[in-house]
């Protein structure tokens, strides 16, 4: 086969792959928007209305309890996980750890990243049973934080490694301490760190398996840190399994809300990252 034919074939393969990715994405979003958007347009108030007492049976009221449940779990979990992730990632850099140590830790983090979320759910459930406690928001936060931790740490670690080495030399060169130098490196890596934060949040808010065992289920508004609650992904599963057609249609509406939240977050992170990138050495070129 001649070189130019190979090139043309490769071009076709690459374009097909790109079309496939965009096509699948559009299909998912399209179905969610068409079906969920329709339900939401007909009655937008379901997002901000607490569920009625017979919500799962008759679809009375809305699913505010799950929207809040998701935010109350994933918000604090992301904050906790982010602090742990940035600290770990900083510790893995050459100023604090040897290459061998950080390679080993990164391997474990990769394994953790690949661990199915339901394993985390079962792990925290074991803790709940051992503590004689019951499923609640609190344990949901812990489970999601554990789930997010390897994702955020790997993102942050990669971002810090990609930050220019000269930032270190420059800061040390004017007499910065290790901590001061690292602060500047984290700043130089800000776009990547933000990407990790958003990916962690997006994965956390979309995960059902982790919270299934740890937060429990509830058809009431979240009552407190140590009470059971429902999140959007778990609600969507329950709604989709309902005998009532109206409840089933709400599943699309809830999926629509979830998709919009995740898309919105990703766009926000792009915006923020772009802002920081202006300051990053070489970022504007």
């Amino acid at each position: 086969m001649n070189r130019y034919t190979t090139q043309r074939l490769f071009g076709i393969a690459v374009r097909t792959a790109a079309l496939l990715i965009v096509g699948v994405l559009l299909l998912v979003i399209g179905v969610t928007v068409a079906r969920g958007g329709g339900v939401l347009l007909a009655d937008p108030s379901i997002v901000v209305t607490p569920p009625g007492s017979r919500y799962m049976l008759e679809g009375t009221g809305g699913f505010l309890h799950a929207v809040l449940g998701s935010l109350f779990i994933v918000g604090p979990a992301t904050a906790v996980s982010m602090v742990a992730a940035v600290s770990t990632a900083v510790y893995l850099q050459s100023d604090y750890s040897s290459d061998r140590f950080s390679d080993a830790v990164n391997m474990f983090l990769n394994v953790l990243w690949g661990t199915p979320p339901i394993v985390y759910g079962v792990f925290v459930l074991t803790l709940i049973i051992a503590a004689g406690a019951q499923t609640s928001l609190f344990f949901g936060i812990i489970a999601i934080a554990i789930f997010q931790y390897p994702i955020m740490t790997r993102y942050t670690d990669e971002a810090l490694r990609a930050a220019p080495e000269t930032v270190r030399e420059t800061t040390y060169g004017v007499g910065a301490t290790r901590f001061e130098s690292m602060r500047m490196t984290v700043r130089a890596a800000a776009p990547g760190v933000i990407a990790g934060l958003v990916m962690g949040f997006a994965r956390g808010i979309g995960d059902a398996a982790t919270v299934l065992f740890t937060t429990g289920r509830s058809t009431r508004m979240p009552g407190g840190l140590f009470e059971a609650a429902t999140t959007l992904p778990v609600l969507i599963f329950d709604q989709a399994m309902s005998f009532n057609a109206e409840v089933r249609s709400h599943a699309y509406a809830a999926a629509f809300v979830l998709t919009i939240v995740v898309l919105g977050l990703i766009l926000l992170s792009k915006l923020l990252a772009g802002r920081y990138a202006r300051y990053t050495p070489g970022g504007n070129r």
């Binding site: 040897s98 930032v167 030399e169 420059t170 040390y172 007499g175 990053t280 970022g283």
Partner: protein, 286 residues
Amino acid sequence: MTEIPLTTDQLAVTYTGDREIEAVKGVSIDFPANTLTTIIGPSGCGKSTLLKSLNRLHDIQENVGIEGDVLLSGDSVYNTDVPAPEIRKRIGYVPQTPTALPVSIYENVAYGLRIHGEYESKADLDEKVETYLRKVNLWDEVSDRLGAPGAELSTGQIQRLCVARSLAVEPDVLLCDEVTSALDPVSAESVEKTLKTLKSEYTLILVTHSMAQARRLADEVVFLYLGEVVESNDVRSFFEDPQEERTKTFIGGSTPVDRDDTPTEPADTPPTPDGGDGSTIGDDKR
């Protein structure tokens, strides 16, 4: 007698990674005050290694062993309880790659002042930022956009910004590691101009592998080859009356010492003020 703020005493630097490499072998040099000393030599001869060992910058690397000592105004740099950041504040370092910290132009200059707490008020800080930007001839170019990201400046401007940032903490000595090698000729010229104006006030040590640059800028020249000082002298004597055979060969341009360097002058041509290899591109990194 000339004041000698910085001296090395049998300084040796060894990389102890996969294989052991003695990059600097027992070097003893005096760096006189208010003088620009250039350290020249072919790529890989240990110039940057020597420079970084002067202010303990190797402490941030793994697998580097240091023997001997560096004396800053008579005080040991290595055998001391003084924390390394305090030493690096007194012996500043400007890296080879022009690097704007990921903050505004203003904050780039203010960085050292802030971390060392060396300002009394916002007005004082403003004044200092202006002073040092003026010192590197950058004020007129950036005074109307101090809040803009430092990274948006041209590479030549960024390198002058780096010098301003280093000067702002008032170091006794400033180490410059091939500071023009990543720059285009016009930017390199502006940085050289800045160094020229600074050398009467500061003790500057410049690593370069461009002999033309050494001729243009230096008061003193140290020729390093394979980690050893071959010859060190004032610039005139060094280039016009070299004592060592290896120096003559290096200056002359026949290249048994370094095949990467591409001097343009034949060996028997007497040096001209602006002659030399003219090369500004090189890499002394390990």
